[in-house]
Point group: C2
Chain length 375, copies 2
């Protein structure tokens, strides 16, 4: 799986390749003809991706026409032990063997779920990721992290399991609405903020509805993700850079699904997390005020505000306490020293986190009062 | 974790060390003092091992006195997704972090279950295995295989996950009854049959109730297991040697738990599997008749026969069909070419397997008629 024509570029992320370019699907088709018996192939997707993307995949990879689709409901609730158990049983009923192949066709939910199932069925069968969302392409499908939610905690259960390859076919983005595109843009912004000021500014200035303009930026964002994963595949240190915005973001996301408002998408929650954590970076004397103001104005302009009140702080801190990213009882944050430069493992306490939440709440109120015609 | 005093011997199995000798528990104690925060240690055991072995473990490893015991019911039914889910949730409630350590104190069920839970909680926390059964010491705790039963299939779900170390403390065997000891002896016999005629004959002639005599044999059996795992940690080829007796044995074990008789222990089922598969080895012209007769007489004398009838063949073949060890629809067996010499991936069909089951059924009837005073 190393030969690439001029229309396919190969990057490397820890233990697996990522393919980009116009011809990634024909390349997958050629590989499968030799390496994957059609009766042992399964395409895992949600009802949306199987409807919107599977037909296009099949035109490029006719080998999959006899593969059995496995459908889950769209959204985070599919990342459950119950769904895993049903699919493990289904694979067993179909006599899937160790040589079987799972093609994960979808966004982050599908690759998180499918990677976990493939990594644990009969102690591991093969899988490839074919991301269909922007979030999947630039982030979730790359780097071998898989995860299932349990006990109310996002990704409580999972493993590091490399796909055989990630095939980034940008035209699938045509199936996305604006909200889903923005969801992925949040992670591209993060990649810029922690590693490349140039990438940050390029994403900031791009017309996001234009897939032609987006394609080279996706390439750059994937390259940043790959470089960070290569430095530290199992998140011992450097990979924690990618947690910027995620400590508060994960808690915000989980909180939103518990409550009465509509749930936040992962990227929307990370955008809020990035505002809070950029503010903490400034408060800790790491980030200059000008850069912070610039980041905050950008993010609050791009993503809808999330309203909560002081009483919610307690629950959010509780959710944060059970985050995988903490050690020895304290909170450990990835913070910014500048645009394109981050530092990991900064210890902060609950009071400091609470101040950041206060700051965000006031920001949302202020922004709504000045910018939202309905306010 | 590489220094060993003269009273500890270190062997290597794929990705982890195995410690043997009189001082393995003091060695574990010294390591834990430096590397494992007491409030982040958990001892997983079943109600028997926690009662019979934990007090002795605590005298050697006082560091664990404040570790929280996690208790499961003894036996195979604890290797379930429901038990995993409960323990993942429990670890989360206790705010177990990525630096946490799980000490698996028990036999094969405990190390299979605990290794899976540790390997998947927050994408992997650390675990060590302290086997308390002979089966655990010579086989199950070594080599990184973990597994959970699902959809009625043994070890359908699992992963390869190395423990930090395996600490073989032979005196724990004093807590075992004769049936449990024999359960482990079956795997020692298997190690001899597939890799060392000397070991086979030594185990055959040893007085099994004498732990002093057993100790050096345990060492040799562990060394064989380690050597095979080192050749092929992820069971691509050579490690399949260790599957001798297991293709039919697993089906026999699963079948026994579905029915009205008392369920077979793993080693008891493997002993039956070894008779059937030695018979197949002879029928395939691989094993000479004299060696086969010797193996059969030994095993049928040592292990109680399992009665079933012709109608059960269908279900047993069905159970075999979903075994992890098969590929491309056929059965793949590890067979003997001689005592101490095995060959992997021998293709056989259902009719041949059925003949082996017939042979075993007649053997049991014949043996009962001649040897069992109650018959």
């Amino acid at each position: 799986m190393t030969t690439t024509g001029k229309d396919v570029e190969e990057l490397w992320a820890g233990g697996h390749p990522v393919y980009l370019g116009a011809h990634v699907l024909p390349m997958l088709a050629r590989w499968m003809e030799f390496e994957a018996p059609p009766e042992q192939c399964y395409v895992l997707g949600d009802s949306t991706t199987l409807r919107q993307c599977l037909p296009e995949l099949l035109t490029y990879v006719p080998h999959l026409q006899h593969a059995e689709p496995i459908e889950v409901a769209p959204g985070e609730p599919s990342k459950s032990i119950e769904v895993c158990t049903a699919i493990w049983g289904h694979l067993s009923d179909r006599e899937a063997e160790r040589g079987a192949l799972v093609v994960n066709l979808g966004g982050g939910v599908v690759s998180d779920l499918g990677g976990f199932i493939a990594g644990t069925y009969k102690r591991g069968i093969r899988h490839v990721n074919v991301p269909t969302s922007l979030m999947g392409m630039v982030d979730a499908s790359i780097g071998g992290k898989t995860g299932i939610d349990a006990a109310g905690i996002k990704n409580l259960v999972g493993l590091f399991r490399d796909p055989l390859g990630v095939y980034v076919h940008v035209p699938f983005l045509r199936t996305l609405g604006k909200r889903e595109l923005l969801n992925g843009v949040a992670e591209m912004i993060k990649h810029g903020l922690v590693r490349s000021a140039d990438h940050y500014h390029a994403v900031r200035e791009a017309p996001l509805h234009d897939i032609g303009v987006l394609a080279p930026l996706i390439h750059d964002s994937v390259a940043i993700k790959c470089a960070v994963v290569n430095d530290d595949p199992h998140e011992q240190s450097a990979r924690k850079l990618l947690n910027f915005g995620h400590t508060i973001g994960h808690a915000m996301e989980a909180h939103s699904w518990e409550g009465q408002q509509r749930g936040l998408l992962h990227g929307e929650a990370v955008a809020i997390g990035m505002i809070c954590e950029a503010w903490l970076s400034w408060r800790q004397g790491l980030l200059d005020r000008g850069s912070f103001d610039q980041i905050e104005a950008h993010l609050i302009g791009l993503f809808k505000g999330y309203a909560f009140n002081n009483d919610d702080h307690h629950r959010m801190l509780e959710l944060m306490r059970n985050d995988k990213k903490n050690a020895e009882g304290g909170f450990r944050f990835t913070l910014l020293r500048g645009i394109g430069d981050a530092v990991v493992n900064v210890p902060l306490n609950a009071a400091q986190v609470g101040e950041a939440l206060d700051h965000y709440r006031l920001l949302v109120r202020h922004h709504a009062a000045h910018h939202d015609p309905e306010a």
